[in-house]
Amino acid sequence: MAMTGRPAAPRGTGHEVDEDRRRFLGTAALSALVVAPGVSLLAFAEGQGRKQGASARTRWGLLIDTTKCKSSCTACVTACSSYNGWKNEGRPTDPQWIRKVQVTDPETGVSRSVPVMCQHCAKAPCVEVCPTGASFKRADGIVLVDRHICIGCRYCMMACPYKARSFVSEEISGQKPWAPRGKGTVEGCTLCVDRIDAGQVPACVQACAHEGGRAMTFGDLKDPASEISRALAEFPSVQLRADLMLDPGVQYQGLP
């Protein structure tokens, strides 16, 4: 199947909806009214729907400006937890797809609160070590676990330098339909891949924009015009454990 054009790309921090998409949905709604009563707008959109999936022409990235991130704010963590249906009750076995790490320079005393999640590395160690290939990277750079073939060996958790993955160590119920997860498999931040495929920004980014300090910028690193690319061009940023040369898709500004 030909991959023509970039998939409708969500840009910015959650307010702006891609122009094409808005136009398309509008047209679809109008046509639906005219053409087929009883066939819903979404069914119609689906019938004609974008069939192209993740494309290598895109690399999704996240830029986190830690100077705008307050220690007291946990909007991103709460949003991720409620959207994806994981719960942290403070036990060492509880999953944490995203967490706030308080980072302090012991000499200068400069301290920042840093959201840490899967860094969606271009050369991800978790992908390298996974014996079955369950840990994989999508064409657009999102690193995921295919829990259909994950055997629960946890080697990816040994290999990840960011402690980004959790193991589900008990029976769970009430999963969200868009975020399947279950006992005996490994999980982690998906960058809200279902939202990205539907043209939305990740839940953490949206929450940060609405209730947080607007510290997170999401977008396509391969598009020089995207907000994230412009922000990266303007201010210096760093990747965590850059010495490992894993080329993470998540970058940080203002670290101590």
Partner: protein, 395 residues
């Protein structure tokens, strides 16, 4: 050189009592695995901080020891030392039994052991783990072939060739096992290529120690003579392997101490790590290396069989301590995501990981060990693995 006569061992009441005891241990291990799968790993001491626990300590120990147990056979076939030939069959048998025991633990600890078929059909060839699946199953096949060639008289002439294949295979296998840890760049206590050869030396020591213990027990229980010369030869070899292990530990930690990025992790293992420090110095260094050498070579104990036995026990206990220190201690040391910074979070960043082995984990680990011994015992009973006599020549 007199002809060697092999014979099955006799099944006395003691034999069957031991088989029954091991079967109970195995059943306990299987029960533990059942609960771990059905309730989840929540019933173990493992967490998101220490993701590999007691099952992996036992599994790694058994797998490493398995390749080492083949030493005696290799010395006979590959290096042509005739004196070791009567021991070669037992050596091959132990190698297979220990490996099956270790693999059983590893598989039953998986989050989804029901998906073993997936692990066998989906290979990511960039993964050292995937390579190990092939290396382990291949090792069982190659060693089985080797045993066949040794035990079938018509095929005896091939034993050198097949023995060489098995010997090379075991070197690659242990390199693979060591690389599981050595290639983990994310964790400071690992991330060192020397772990691969170090695991080979570990395997030489652990495998031979277990071999000596099984040999002594089997000869004693079956009232088969075991010559001093044979035993002392094995003892000297084990002493040399223990010294080799100490040397590798020294080089490993000296290298790491020299690099600033490892200093925190090294301080943790070597002097600030509480139980992990004790395990290293008392367990790995003293029990695994120093004590056996003293027992083997101090003048008053030069000819003592008890010293050989206790020295081998010491190597096994010290070896388990070392593997525990590597597997658990290596994970307990927190990841350095922000080097040089003080960190804290709800996810135990910057905190030494807490781990206490739980009963099901220990049961699973011991069950695997029981399986290995059970396989060995039953095989000894069914097939002629052990010579009628191992008395010294001329006696």
């Amino acid at each position: 050189m007199r002809a060697i006569h092999y014979r099955e061992i006799d099944g006395s009441g003691g034999f069957w009592a031991l088989v029954g005891l091991l079967a109970l241990l195995l059943a306990a291990g299987l029960t533990a695995a059942y609960f771990m799968e059905h309730i989840g790993h929540i019933i173990t001491g493992m967490s998101n901080q220490v993701v590999w626990g007691m099952p992996h300590v036992f599994a790694v120990f058994l797998i490493v020891a398995a390749s080492g147990a083949l030493n005696t056979a290799s010395i006979a076939s590959v290096f042509g030392r005739v004196a070791y030939k009567p021991l070669a069959r037992l050596s091959g048998l132990l190698a297979i039994a220990l490996l099956i025991g270790g693999l059983a633990i590893l598989v039953l600890d998986l989050g989804r052991p029901d998906r073993l078929g997936v692990a066998m059909t989906h290979y990511n060839f960039r993964s050292i783990f995937a390579w190990n699946i092939l290396l382990y199953t291949g090792f069982i096949a190659v060693t089985g072939w080797y045993l066949w060639v040794m035990m079938e008289q018509r095929l005896n002439r091939h034993s050198r060739m097949v023995g060489t294949v098995a010997f090379l295979w075991r070197l690659i296998l242990t390199t693979g096992t060591g690389s599981i840890f050595g290639l983990l760049v994310a964790r400071q206590p690992y991330d060192e290529a020397i772990m691969a050869p170090m695991f080979i030396v570990m395997s030489l020591a652990f495998g031979l120690a277990i071999f000596i213990l099984v040999l002594m027990a089997a000869c004693r229980a079956g009232a088969r003579p075991l010559g001093d010369e044979t035993l002392m030869r094995l003892k000297n070899l084990l002493g040399a392997f223990a010294a080799g292990l100490l040397y590798f530990l020294l080089v490993f930690h000296l290298t790491k101490l020299y690099e600033a990025k490892f200093s925190g992790a090294e301080a943790f293992i070597l002097w600030r790590g509480g139980p992990y420090t004790v395990l290293f110095w008392f367990g790995a260094v003293f029990l695994g290396g120093v004590l056996p050498m003293l027992l083997f070579w101090l003048p008053p104990m030069r000819r003592s069989r008890a010293a050989v036995g206790w020295g081998s026990v010491s190597v096994v206990v010290g070896g388990l301590a070392l593997v525990y220190d590597v597997v658990i201690g290596g994970q307990a040391w927190p990841l350095s995501i922000f080097p040089g910074m003080q960190v804290s979070s709800s996810f135990y960043d910057g905190v030494v990981g807490y781990y206490a082995p739980s009963l099901p984990e220990c049961a699973l680990g011991l069950g695997g060990c029981a399986l290995a011994v059970l396989i060995t015992l039953l095989a000894l009973k069914l097939l002629p693995f052990l010579p009628e006599t191992l008395a010294d020549e001329g006696n």
